[in-house]
């Protein structure tokens, strides 16, 4: 189902190649193992800022040229930053393959730091923050939740960074971060699409192999101490509807219980038949939407719940109903049919990720970075199949304890006077 050619260059850069000739296009994904967990107070958000700076000119391809050349060759790009990784994503017709290797190598090796461009990009990122956090109730509450759920570990600050830090990064901060994160040995390259390994490997050797390896980012030493009691945070701001978010600490992606977390996620929030949707949206009609779940992370992560509370309803009632559902999970074994339903959903979702070359590139890179190797993809269906009703009870009892939770509530400061 998933056939991959794997190669490690002499500088430590890993290349994964997946052939797929459905459309004459290629997805090239570069996973750099640097994210907001590799930052420090005062320079938060700098990995995300680099996501932007990597498009602002290098030695051979100057300012704007990465985008200009790429779009002219029929391609498009984007990038995303998380707490753990920064990922550059290029999609293009196969005719642009060599150009992309040349341009990616140029910016990994020789990025330029023009002070004028740094200032302009600072404005762009401030605007992004204003629109995704300050003018967005969800973004505001999510930021406060994490700042409360973590007290020691870097997952406590937002990936986009605190507003004051965005204003304050210095040129030295930027250059040091670039050296730390953008080493070829800190990167996994995934190529998926209308290519063959015989085409790709010579290009990887020509363009990427001469880039010297460097010391990888220093290990993140801080371990979040166990939470010893419930934490709560309130946000008061103008809004029409209240909002509620909860976080429970869980293990990292390599935790052997991770497949159990995924099944719990599907039982609780996967599809309209999920327990939380049926209970909170349909039966009790307390919320408009019940979202959440787990995401793979390098350090111990979170089980997250997010609720858009209905008008006239109280977040406290949502909490009460949620706790009942979480307790039911640890007290009563999940009926065999419901467990099978969740397993079917996960398997179908897995196929959905394989529909596109982008989906395949992203899946391969994520497995390589988070789960200890892309080959784990082949084990994933069996690992899900193995999870038992007893596993779910055991894990639910472990993670969903009141002392392990953080609750964030958005309280509307003024209600719009709308008639129903």
């Amino acid at each position: 189902m998933v056939q991959v050619t794997e190669h490690t260059l002499s500088n430590g850069m890993k290349i994964l190649i997946h052939e797929d000739h459905d459309v004459p296009n290629v997805a090239l994904y570069l996973f750099f193992k640097v994210g907001s967990r590799n930052e420090r107070p005062g320079a938060t958000g700098i990995s995300h800022f680099f996501e932007h700076m990597m498009f602002n000119g290098a030695k051979k391809y100057g300012p704007k040229q990465f985008d200009i050349q790429m779009e002219k060759a029929g391609g498009r790009n984007n990038a995303y930053t998380t707490r753990d990784v920064t990922v550059y994503t290029d999609w293009f017709p196969r005719s642009a393959l060599e150009l992309m290797f040349d341009m990616e190598a140029d910016r990994i090796r020789d990025l330029s730091f023009d002070p004028k461009i740094v200032e302009s990009e600072r404005g762009v990122v401030s605007s992004e923050r204003r629109t995704s956090v300050d003018n967005n109730p969800f973004g505001t509450l999510y930021e406060q939740l994490n700042a409360t759920a973590y007290i020691a570990h870097p997952y406590q600050w937002p990936v986009i960074g605190w507003a004051s830090d965005i204003e304050a990064w210095t040129m030295d901060d930027l250059k040091a971060h670039y050296r730390m994160g953008y080493a070829p040995n800190n990167c996994v390259v995934v190529v998926s699409g209308d290519v063959t390994p015989a085409e790709v490997l010579p290009l990887a050797k020509k363009y990427f192999e001469p880039i010297p390896s460097q010391d990888p980012p220093p290990p993140v030493r801080t371990v979040e101490p166990p939470q010893l009691g419930e934490r709560r945070v309130e946000v008061h701001r103008p809004a029409n509807l209240p909002m509620l978010m909860l976080s429970y600490h869980i293990g990292a992606a390599k935790d052997p219980d991770f497949p159990v977390y995924e099944l719990i996620e599907t039982l609780l929030t996967g599809g309209r038949s999920s327990r939380l949707h049926q209970r909170l949206v349909e039966k009790d009609q307390l919320v408009l939407s019940a979202g959440g779940g787990v995401r793979p992370s390098l350090d111990p992560g979170q089980f997250l719940f997010t609720f858009q509370v209905r008008s006239g309803r109280q977040p406290a009632d949502v909490e009460k109903a949620l706790y009942e559902e979480l307790e039911r999970l640890s007290k009563e074994p999940v009926p065999a049919e419901e467990l099978q339903k969740a397993k079917n959903q996960i398997l179908a979702d897995f196929y959905r990720q394989l529909k596109t070359i982008s989906g395949k590139a992203n899946l391969l890179g994520s497995y390589e970075v988070f789960y200890g190797g892309w080959g784990q993809i082949l084990q994933a269906p069996a690992q899900i199949e193995k999870v038992s009703a007893a596993d779910i009870q055991r894990v639910a009892a472990k993670i969903f304890s009141p002392r392990n939770r953080t609750v964030a509530t958005l309280i509307p400061e003024q209600r719009a006077e709308v008639k129903q």
């Binding site: 459905d22 459309v23 029929g74 498009r76 003018n135 701001r237 809004a239 029409n240 509807l241």
Partner: protein, 464 residues
């Protein structure tokens, strides 16, 4: 000299020269008037099915805007012998995913399922299309949820600016004046009886386009599809309205006051084209260069050079009726005028100067390079594009000939289209932000100006 330069540039650039073709498919008309299209392909063990009904916002009675989206949602909330929660449970058990929605000219359901579950998944789908029960209790629940969704949308100005712009741009009585979602007023008028009436008009064989693509054997699958698509009564084919196109004799400015906003979200529009307009191909190129990609003139000026925003784009509607070409961006409250002035400068220069051969080549490559992954890669994309051709009365030549038409475009043709449609006079400005901070300085954009509170019901503009 110009020609020689053009040839040189083309020779030195990477050309995206391959043509695209839709894969082979079958198309038949069923006795009840429904159109059935089947396109088998076997890359992953999934099947996508799409049922599209002609109508959408264009078919909504006055005052009941958004009723199509409510009707579509209601159809899955109890059908045949299954209750709403039984449908959800049965679909999830199969690992199937059902999505639905409506736009300006249609309502649609998309179902994706594992190929081995085709008989079970299709049976549920058939019930949803032909046997919806519209239980009273579910109607009440959906309408109450819908009312809250409208409230939540107004908490997010980035999402609210689109509906407000439509309320300003399209004249009263035009079906595109509403964005396809109910507002605080229409949601009070929608009820079970109206939903049933709307369903009966919509769910007619003559209005149905049924498309399937994916991992199936047509011999086994076609009878299944015929049974479901053929089960609806023939009914009457929807007759679309023919309102006058939006035209303006003066600029107008609407400020939607959200006092707590720290940014201004703006959309500035002018009359554009429809999906079958002869200027579509040159305008696709023009809009790509103006605001349709990252290196576009708008994004380059506002984001890359000035750092005033996270993004500046232009949106070109391509619907059955003529829509807008609109600039869309946002910026901190304090730089509102600076950003809008800059956007207008870019527009005026583009309208005056047009594009060069090098720009045309770049945009053409960009459109061609992205088209396969945007529209032709997956079974659900293929279902969507085949249904779209039917809705607009087009056939496969629209796709198979697309790259040839792009290749044949000249600079003169693009610039002539720009002169016809990029008209910087009489622009329509819609701003969502802190009115007290921006009202005075933005007054220069239009003598005709209005301010409304975001708390005012609905998204329509007041009379100017």
């Amino acid at each position: 000299m110009k020609t020689a330069l053009g040839i040189l540039l083309m020779a030195s650039s990477i050309s995206v020269s391959a043509q695209v073709r839709l894969p082979e498919f079958t198309r038949e008309q069923l006795p009840n008037g429904a159109t059935l299209i089947l396109l088998p392909r076997h890359d992953v063990p999934l099947v996508s099915v799409r049922a599209v009904f002609r109508g959408g916002a264009e078919s909504e009675p006055a005052g009941l805007n958004g009723i199509t989206s409510v009707t579509v949602e209601m159809m899955r909330r109890g059908a045949g012998k299954r209750s709403a929660s039984q449908i959800d449970l049965d679909l999830d058990f199969l690992g199937a995913s059902l999505s639905s929605g409506s736009n300006r000219q249609s309502a649609w359901f998309a179902l994706e399922f594992l190929s081995k579950t085709a008989p079970e998944a299709m049976a549920i789908f058939g019930d949803i299309l032909a046997q919806p029960a519209f239980p009273e209790e579910e109607v009440r629940k959906v309408l109450a949820q819908t009312a809250d969704r409208v409230r939540a949308a107004k908490d997010n100005p980035a999402a609210a600016v689109g509906p407000y712009f439509n309320g300003l741009f399209y004249p009263s009585g035009h079906p595109y004046r509403h964005s396809g979602s109910p507002d605080e007023l229409s949601v009070t008028r929608i009820n079970r009886e109206e939903i049933q009436k709307h369903y009966r008009r919509m769910a007619a064989g003559r209005n149905l386009i049924f498309v399937a693509s994916g991992d199936f054997d047509p011999k086994q699958f076609a009878p299944l599809a015929r049974k479901i698509a053929g089960a609806l009564p023939p009914g009457e084919a929807f007759q679309p309205p023919a309102p006058k196109d939006p035209r303006f004799d003066r600029p107008r400015l609407l400020i939607v006051d959200k006092p707590d906003a720290t940014q201004t979200y703006f959309r500035i529009g002018m009359p554009g084209i429809h999906r079958r307009h002869p200027d579509r191909i040159p305008l696709l190129v023009a809009n790509t260069l103006f605001g349709g990609r990252f290196t576009s003139l708008l994004n380059d000026a506002l984001r890359v050079n000035a750092g005033l925003t996270y993004g500046a784009t232009s949106i070109m509607d391509l619907d059955r009726l003529s829509g807008a070409i609109a600039i869309n961006s946002y910026t901190p409250t304090a730089t509102t005028v600076k950003a809008i002035d800059l956007a207008l400068d870019v527009l005026r220069q583009f309208a005056g100067k047009g594009v060069s051969q090098e720009q045309l080549d770049s945009a053409r490559n960009y459109i061609k390079g992205n088209f396969p992954t945007d529209r032709l890669e997956t079974s659900d994309q293929l279902c969507a594009i085949l249904a779209e051709l039917e809705i607009f009365g087009l056939d496969r030549r629209d796709i198979d000939g697309f790259f040839q038409l792009l290749d044949a475009l000249t600079v003169d043709a693009v610039n002539a289209a720009i002169r016809r449609h990029f008209t910087p006079d009489n622009l329509q400005f819609c701003l969502v932000g802190n009115a007290s901070a921006i009202q005075k300085e933005t007054a220069k954009y239009a003598a005709a100006a209005k301010v409304i509170s975001i708390k005012t019901e609905g998204f329509a503009a007041p009379d100017f």
